[in-house]
């Protein structure tokens, strides 16, 4: 029947084999949906291998619910956190058989006294039929994902259960909790937690048949027995105990009607659990056992608390890890190389564009250069010589007409009442130094032909000198001081001057200012 089913090649499936003393429940999930479940009494059963052929890529987990697992609390001396692990390891090696699967869960330190360490030592005897299941699972072509213990993993289950029962309803939880589940492969699994941590577990087989009243009676009795056990671990009635019983609907009804279980027990069916935890298809209303629900919860839950393995399974996992790592590294190299190659390839387009542009620029430059060379050929004289001549002409022609220009500018101011009797020009403009190098000295004679008054004549002289200064604004122009009134008097014949003299001589000096014009 299984062989007829279509093989799934998707890697999104996960499989858990919950191994008990009566056989194993195999559950395959896809996300949070249970897609297939199977009970097999022995790993040699044909249905066992057929199941895995349907999901060849699904990793396989083993969840242990056998009788042969021991949980014992140990108090360790208050060594440093670094050394406690070594101490625990040594003690595990000493206390348990080499073939056993062993581990320890820290339960915290004592709050008073020496502050000793508390550990829960765990061991699972690796003997048949349990070892047969591990061997069979390890030999499957599927990836082996490790061995996990149902009581340990139920700590996570308890958290979600408490959320549903207490937190959402706003009720206060007790310090102690107990889960009693009726499992097909193990029997009545009882797990006790203190402050959410596993402290005790036991399993017992049903006695007297599987009828609801017998099962309910068994549950009541085993629960009372367990409570007696945990009293030795420090439980007392004042601290309170929350009891969760997961059993078939008929059993639940009977227990709810008349239960002798301690405190306020909560009875749940597998179907109710699956519905509340969102495990689709993990249980039907008629399901009597909780294995499938617990298995589905474990396999869909992301966090797993304690992973165990034999030397053989560890080696298989190591090799699988090497293979995965190798493929990962190769994939990384391939991706990186492809990324670089793609990057380089894209970069070539940019480079090609640059080449194209550069070629264009080069061609244009070459063309211009050619045109210029052709132009230069058209010059019929040596450009070097021409440049020298032009340069020298510029230098030697500089300011050559300046003395005449100065005279011409002066002459433009002359108003026929003055005449220049003498001009002396000294010009060093031909030298490199140009500052104050051109000087003209003029003797200017004013003729008073119209016998004007002194005041009028002086006004005319002022007007004339101002006009000369204005015209020759780029030169320094200075006139000798006019004769004073006494001289004018003398010039006028020794009497108080009423008329101006006939001629008055001024000395003018005109110089370049040193500023370039």
């Amino acid at each position: 029947m299984a062989a007829k089913e279509k093989k799934s090649s998707s890697a999104k499936y996960k499989i858990v084999i919950t191994v008990g003393d009566e056989g194993a429940i195999i559950v395959c999930v896809d996300g949070t949906n249970m897609v297939k479940r199977l009970f097999v009494p022995s790993p040699s059963d044909e249905e066992f291998t057929a199941f895995f052929k349907l999901f060849p890529d699904a990793p396989v987990y083993i969840l242990v619910d056998v009788v042969d697992q021991a949980y014992t609390q140990h108090t360790m001396p208050p060594v440093s956190p670094f050394n406690i692990k070594k101490l625990v390891k040594r003690k595990l090696e000493k206390d348990f058989s080499e073939n056993d699967l062993t581990s320890a869960i820290p339960l915290g330190r004592e709050k008073s006294g020496r502050r000793d360490w508390n550990y829960l030592f765990i061991s699972v005897r690796n003997v048949a039929p349990f070892s047969d299941w591990i061997d069979a699972a390890a030999e499957l072509p599927n990836k082996f994902a490790g061995v996990y213990l149902l009581p340990v993993e139920m700590m996570e289950f308890l958290k979600d259960l408490k959320k549903i029962v207490f937190i959402e309803k706003g009720q206060k939880e007790s310090e102690w909790q107990m889960i009693v589940s009726h499992n097909k492969v193990g029997g009545f699994r009882q797990i006790v937690f203190k402050n959410g941590k596993l402290v005790f577990t036991r399993i017992s087989q049903p006695i007297g048949g599987q009828t609801p009243d017998v099962v309910a009676g068994n549950i009541e009795q085993e629960t009372l027995n367990t409570i007696e056990y945990i009293r030795r671990l420090g439980f007392d009635d004042e601290k309170g105990l929350d009891v969760f019983v997961i059993a078939a609907a008929e059993v639940k009804d009977m227990l709810e009607e008349n239960s002798a279980i301690y405190g306020k027990p909560l009875f749940l069916t597998p179907y109710e659990i699956a519905s509340q935890l969102g495990l689709k298809g993990a249980a039907t209303e008629n399901d009597r056992f909780s294995d499938v629900v617990v298995s589905s919860y474990f396999i869909t839950h992301k966090k797993h608390l304690l992973k165990l393995g034999t030397d053989y399974t560890n080696k298989i996992e190591q090799l699988s890890m090497v293979s995965t790592t190798l493929r990962g590294i190769a994939a990384l190299i391939v991706c990186f190389a492809i990324f670089l190659a793609a990057n380089s390839f894209i970069s070539t387009f940019d480079t090609r564009d640059k080449i194209k542009n550069t070629k264009l620029i080069k061609e244009r430059s070459e063309q211009k250069l050619k045109e210029l060379e052709e132009f230069k050929v058209q010059f019929d004289k040596d450009p070097g010589k021409v440049k020298d001549i032009a340069s020298m002409d510029g230098i030697l022609s500089r300011n050559k007409m300046e003395p005449l220009e100065l005279v011409a500018k002066y002459a433009s101011v002359n108003n026929f009442t003055t005449s220049v009797k003498r001009i002396n020009i000294s010009n060093d403009r031909s030298s490199v130094k140009e500052t104050n190098s051109l000087t003209a000295n003029l003797d200017v004679v004013f003729s008073n032909k119209e016998n004007e008054s002194i005041d009028k004549l002086l006004d005319k002289i002022d007007s004339f000198t101002n006009a000369v200064k204005s015209k020759l604004e780029n030169y320094e122009v200075s006139f000798s001081g006019l004769p004073d009134e006494n001289q004018l008097t003398v010039l006028g014949g020794g009497e108080e001057a009423t008329n101006a003299p006939q001629n008055i001589t001024l000395k003018a000096e005109i110089k370049t200012t040193g500023k370039k014009k």
Binding site: L140, L340, T351, T358, I361, L369, K376, I389, S391, L396
Partner: protein, 226 residues
């Protein structure tokens, strides 16, 4: 048994992974080499382009300089252009100056005009250092008596403009000896003689360019050079 299977798978995975890595790396190497070759081509091309651009800039500069020089040369008067001798001897200067002096003496009605030359020397002023030319210079002293200051200034202008090379007035001293009056003009008209009213002295610096004269370059040679 499973370990053997896993090991076999591991070897297979290893071979495939290494193969894939080698192939991918080879692809990258090939593409990378291809890219490097293209970049190399770009570098070479950029270098060439840079050289061509540099040549172009130099050539443009040369062209502009030459073009400006030729434009400037058009403004240089022919009698200022360099000559092979560059009037580097007193004899050559006197030969050049004599006809001009005679011409100006008549034109500007000098009653007396004496010109003397100083020795000729190369002017080694830093400003005059060019590759193909030398500047030869001397001073020219002129003592004169003339009819009017205006004629004297016209004379100066003509000397500056018409003498070969470059002439500049260095010193000038003009004195008016007589005032032009109606009676003086009447006397000139009556006697038909020139009566000087101004006299003086002036000194010119006279510089000429000595160098190989400009000749037209043979186009064929130029073409060959280019």
């Amino acid at each position: 048994m499973k370990i053997a299977v896993i090991k076999k798978k591991l070897i297979k995975d290893g071979i495939m992974s290494i193969g894939a890595a080698i192939i991918a790396t080879s692809i990258y190497y090939y593409v990378g080499s291809f890219e490097e070759n293209i970049k190399k081509e770009l570098r070479l091309l950029s270098r060439d382009e840079s050289m061509v651009t540099s040549s172009l800039i130099n050539s443009q500069k040369e062209y502009e300089e030459a073009s400006n020089a030729f434009t400037a040369l058009n403004n240089v008067k022919e009698h200022r252009l360099p000559t092979a001798e560059g009037y580097d001897s007193a004899a050559s200067r006197i030969r050049a100056a004599r006809p001009l002096i005679e011409k100006f003496k008549k034109k500007y009605e000098f009653t007396n005009l004496n010109v003397t030359f100083s020795g000729i020397e190369e002017d080694k002023n830093d400003e005059y250092k060019v590759a193909s030319l030398k500047v030869m210079g001397n001073e020219m002293s002129v003592e004169f008596q003339g009819m009017s200051d205006e004629l004297i200034f016209a004379f100066i202008y003509s000397v500056i403009e018409e003498f070969p090379g470059y002439v500049q007035l260095k010193e000038m001293n003009i004195e008016r000896n007589k005032t032009i009056s109606d009676s003086l003009i009447k006397k000139i008209n009556d006697t038909a003689t020139l009566i000087p009213t101004v006299s003086g002295r002036m000194v010119f610096t006279w510089k000429t360019l000595k160098g190989e004269p400009l000749t037209t370059i043979e186009k064929e040679d130029k073409n060959e050079q280019s």
